[in-house]
Symmetry: C2
Subunit: 353 residues, 2 copies
């Protein structure tokens, strides 16, 4: 088991209760341009981290690049759900079913395992019908359906598509490596919650990958077009990528075209800002989603003036208790505020210099 | 808003995925004897932290000390649920209802707010009946019922019993202060998830309070007896204190008499080890329950040989994914392992010296 010397990343987010900090979230943030120049690096952005579901859009590239999306005439909803960590609502399940059907498959092929859907409506419906959740309710079922469709179109065996040595997973690993401009170390591989391989890579490389995804610069033309089409599908069908009330759906809807964001388990979040030519990758050390979403909100607000209006609730960070009383708030740490102020200052000087 | 200089507590727990550390949990641990001597102090044990539900047994002392428990002929289940963060199963709701009824009250008096119960059985039952959760389903409803019964017995108005200026809350604050041997700073008060006041105090003081609770030494005789009776009720009815499959229920059942443990929100856990005359208090900086329970398991295993058998699953720390594949494990950090080795070495030398 490998453990690097415990580098102490800075606190990114403080959680206040009453007058005092009750908890805090440490982590690291990289913002990169298309050349891989880090325009902001807070904490250790060189240590490889597992990106988990934050790279689903890159894992979906073969679905488009292979010609499967064209051949199967996939809709925006079907492409968006292939990039999704969804709530398991009816709209998500319908898109997964139709994506599988177009590929000549059904949900029995899904290797993602089952969990209760985040959607309370769907959970209630399952319980009322006396049913248990199935793999299609897994938040990753769209990604798996997209991989199955790509595998079939490429002439691969759709069985065992989730194994690291399946040719589709090998293709996805090459895409991840090429896009992020970093070699993937096979000893840095873990198995994800949904049983797919997840390769650890540095936040700096991930941020560069998202800068390239957003702009298409530095990618093969067909890969750039595939990434573009997937992001456009997510902007066109933002509810498919997460679900109503959830962070990525709010951002994709409110900052359509300006910020493509995607979260992953254990506090990872990535973003592409096509108009600025920048990519963002962050991870909260302890894996807390609340820390990652709060930190990314702060970064987006520093980079995109419109983000303030879209992410008002997130940025105010009010914490209510079970009776709705205001008991605390989440706030960017002084370290994060300082880093973003420095970054804004450098940008202003560069613009006027 | 106060934020002390970001003291960097050590990593207590590492979360591995495949070969690599994916996430980690920092925090601090205090182990104290009845005199307040810290026999182990890892991280910052002087900074005040909110103990949240970890001190429910101390908040329940007026229920016994006032004579209410005798007058109302409370059962072990009713006393245990007054110390509980329960799963909202039928057994918990029954105990809360009967405790309230003995005090001449009903669930309309509960000021804790409502949330869905952790119990899947009860959640399913509510959904099947088309109902929403009520305050009685809140994990804190037993504590609130116990406070209401104490307030009525003491001749206090049961309305507004949850407010910081209610005489019952003032009494509880004095008990907390006296037991832990530390003045409570009113500017260190927050409001808990269930709307009660929660006073920040140092882990060192909390650990001393639990050493005193466990032994009765240093407490007024009637307070020592009240604490003893509450702990005995929890050992007698361990399922009432949390719920089947949950950490505190497993410990209270498996280490009955040897370790009284109680967790609180945001990664706090306290324990009394009566036979060793020690108290333990720990907090994980980021608030993660998984980190707190893993760290406490490690401490208990170092102090109580029997804990190895009771907490085998927790100590093995295997992490499975949605298909049941083994994808990682949680482990004590080198820092925590080292501190516990040093502590064991000091004890052995003291025993043989």
């Amino acid at each position: 088991m490998m453990r690097e010397a415990a580098s102490s990343n800075p606190v990114l987010v403080d959680v206040f209760r009453g007058p005092r900090v009750e908890s805090c979230h440490r982590g690291a943030i990289a913002i990169s341009d298309i050349e891989g120049r880090l325009v902001l690096a807070l904490g250790d952005v060189t240590r490889p981290i597992y990106p988990r579901s934050a790279v689903k859009v890159l894992q979906a590239i073969p679905l488009v690049e292979s010609g499967a999306a064209d051949a199967l005439e996939l809709s925006a909803a079907e492409l968006a759900v292939a990039c999704a960590s969804h709530s398991g609502d009816r709209v998500h399940l319908d898109a997964v079913v139709s994506l599988l059907a177009k590929a000549g498959l059904d949900e029995s092929y899904l290797a993602c395992g089952a969990h209760w859907p985040a959607s309370e409506t769907m959970m209630r419906a399952l319980i009322m019908e006396g049913k248990r959740p199935r793999p299609i309710h897994n938040n990753c079922s769209g990604k798996h359906a997209g991989m199955l469709a790509a595998a079939v179109h490429l002439g691969f065996d759709p069985r065992a598509y989730e194994k690291p040595d399946h040719p589709l997973q090998a293709l996805i690993a090459r895409i991840l490596s090429k896009t992020c401009g970093v070699a993937l170390d096979p000893t840095h591989m873990g198995i994800d919650g949904c049983s797919l391989p997840t390769f650890a890579l540095p936040l700096g490389a991930l941020a560069r990958g998202f800068a390239r995804l957003g702009t298409g610069v530095g990618l093969l033309p067909e890969r750039a077009r595939a990434g573009q089409r997937l992001m456009e599908a997510c902007f066109a069908a933002p509810a498919l990528v997460a679900g109503e009330g959830r962070f990525d759906t709010i951002v994709l809807r409110g900052l359509s075209g300006a910020a493509f964001t995607k979260g992953g388990a254990e506090g990872v979040h990535c973003a592409a800002l096509p108009q600025l030519g920048l990519g963002i990758a962050l991870k909260v050390d302890d894996g807390a989603k609340r820390g990652a979403e709060r930190a990314l909100s702060e970064v987006l607000a520093a980079l995109l003036p419109k983000a303030w209006a879209v992410l008002t609730d997130e940025l105010e960070g009010e914490l209510q208790n079970w009776r709705g009383l205001l008991v605390g708030r989440m706030a960017a740490s002084e370290e994060l505020q300082g880093a973003l102020r420095d970054f804004a200052g450098r940008r202003d000087r560069a613009a006027t210099g």
